[in-house]
Amino acid sequence: MIKFSDRQLKTPKLMRPVYLVTAGQSKFDRAIPEKRTEELCVDALTMAARLIDKSPAELKSYIHSCYYGHFADHFGDQLLGEAVIHDRLGLDPLGNIGVKTGGATGGSTLWEAVKTVASGYSDCVLAMGWERMDEVPTDEGNHLISCAADKDWETPLGHIYTGYYAVMAQKYWQVFGKEEESFRRTLAEIAVKHHGYARFNPYAQAPMDITVNDVLNSPVVAYPLRALDCCLMSVGAACAIICDEDTAMKLTHNTKNKPLRIWVAAGSHTLRPACRRDMEIPLLPNESPDQYADLGERFPGGDRYPGFTGFLAARMSAYYGYRMAGIVDPMEDLDVIELHDAFTISDVQTYEDVGLRPYGYGRDYVESGDCYHTNPNTGEPGKLPSNLSGGLIGCMHAVGATGIMQTLEVASHIWNRWAEIHGDQKIWDEFGREKPDDWTDLQVKDAKRALAISHAGVGSHVTATILMDPDHLLKEDA
């Protein structure tokens, strides 16, 4: 579709308030030969229980239905892996279902869990996501990922998903980046930032102390993208417990976790970028129709929307999500975010899709220093820090778990437990990872509201997960 009816653009409404109570995750790594997937899921659920001072058995006794995010059956070579995990978690005979929406699988799993609680069907739901991408070597893994593109029109072309994705990066690079060396360095700064923040995260797979020049000298994958501009391929699991108000209060009573209000909204767009048709830009609450009238003059070639430069699905997830939760200006209303940095350049494209900057000006979110925990230009706290976990570039992209990992990460700031969750020496030791001498507490002070964007492939599915401290809502009836 390229025109949308008012019915289709209705602001989604949850039938009752829904809360994120706790969450957990496993170690993330390129390969974890010593553990089966179920062991990683047990690790995640055990952590979620521990954060609210419960035993896994106690927490399980509250769970009424289960949503499992697992994208690629062929990676794990186990069809219906959800049933295996469900049994091993000892959750029979509860109802359960698998969710798969490519890279957005984690976010989509939360979307389903939230709606289940909002509808009244369940008072407590488990959302668990995982991926097992170490059962094949990287070449074969690239082939398997490329099977998520159109198998007749795209996959035979190189069997490499990057090929279908990076044409969009190239368009953005030339039209909005104007092929400027300064923009290329800005992209590299994103990789430096995400690998750098990963150094303070014991769960993260790719901590690196690198420079912009290291990124610019890493091997070309698809010009202008280089190896260090790209996300990871990972193994791991993450989970969240989603509840109604009464259950949330019971489960968190006398614990350090305050139940957080949660909303999830979703959008979609063509699986094949080739099939995108031109349309008007759906506007976010902080945008006006006239501000894009001369976009093609300011950025020659930039007059087609979404063209190959915008992610309509990301735009729509924010379109629905912001209105649902009362967000007007994400830069003012949010305190911490996690974005789906599949590539440094798609991170920038997303800044625009979700309204951190207007279309065409995403790079300013980095160059202004707003995206950092501490703004390197001023030494003051960044205005809206992003991807303090390390993101997909520094922490992990265990596809089905990614959107849930992001949600745990931003929740840990609102819970004011970031340092505890990431700094505990025991976790570093357990994972066989060395805690750096300059380990830094990245807790965002007084964080009350957060956003996590979970994104599939070339933008076929995107979810926006919004968290708020219930005492700091933006809208009465949200």
């Binding site: 990922i145 198998k151 035979p156 072309l157 090929g163 080739a274």
Partner: protein
């Protein structure tokens, strides 16, 4: 002895001949740092699928014959009547009526222009294209969508005019039978098996 699996359709059913899978032994995975203890097992998989092109079959036949078929919604009641599609869409995405198949070969030859591109230094298992792969997205006058393909000869840049070439000799009947070159390449210089149609 094994022979490639082959398939034909007769009386509306698949008739198969040859081998559709190969059995390769499982091999143990052992930990050399821990007394060569067993950690896992390899699971080889080599299997041939039977895949229907369904209503898109005319397109995949046409590229082996030097033609590019697209489609158009001609439903008089459709708000977007007259919208033309490459890639070929069997049904109109707006009204869902069956699209008309249209031969767009001339439009492709005369107006194909690179919208965006990417030179990919990497590729996945089973890749058959020459490396690096020059991915291109080609736009055409009067067509609402932008085809993903690959450039065989020439250096890709946005706005470059390109013309289609077709694997008319020994076609694979996959999308790789359609490729593009910059204008002005002599037919004898095209990659093996390809012609201008």
């Amino acid at each position: 002895m094994s022979i490639f699996g082959t398939v034909r359709v007769k009386n509306g059913q698949y008739k198969i001949k040859g081998d559709f899978h190969h059995i390769t032994p499982n091999m143990p995975i052992r930990n050399e740092e821990d007394g060569w203890k067993l950690m896992g097992i390899t699971n080889p998989r080599a299997m041939t699928y039977m895949h229907s092109y369904g209503g898109e079959a005319p397109f995949f036949e046409s590229i082996s014959q030097g033609k590019i078929l697209g489609t158009r919604c001609d439903d008089p009641d459709c708000e977007f009547k007259g919208t033309s599609y490459i890639p070929f869409r069997i049904h109109c995405p707006d009204c869902l009526s069956k699209n008309t198949i249209v031969d767009f070969t001339d439009i492709c030859k005369n107006t194909g222009t690179i919208h965006t591109f990417m030179v990919c230094e990497r590729f996945g298992a089973f890749n058959t294209l020459e490396k690096p792969i020059k991915f291109i997205n080609v736009e055409f006058d009067g067509i609402s969508t932008i085809l993903m393909s690959y450039l065989s000869i020439g250096e890709p840049e946005m706005g470059l005019r390109v013309v289609p070439i077709f694997r008319t000799r020994n076609p694979t009947y996959t999308i790789t039978d359609l490729s593009w070159v910059a204008e002005g390449v002599a037919e004898e210089d095209l990659p093996e098996g390809f012609t201008y149609g």
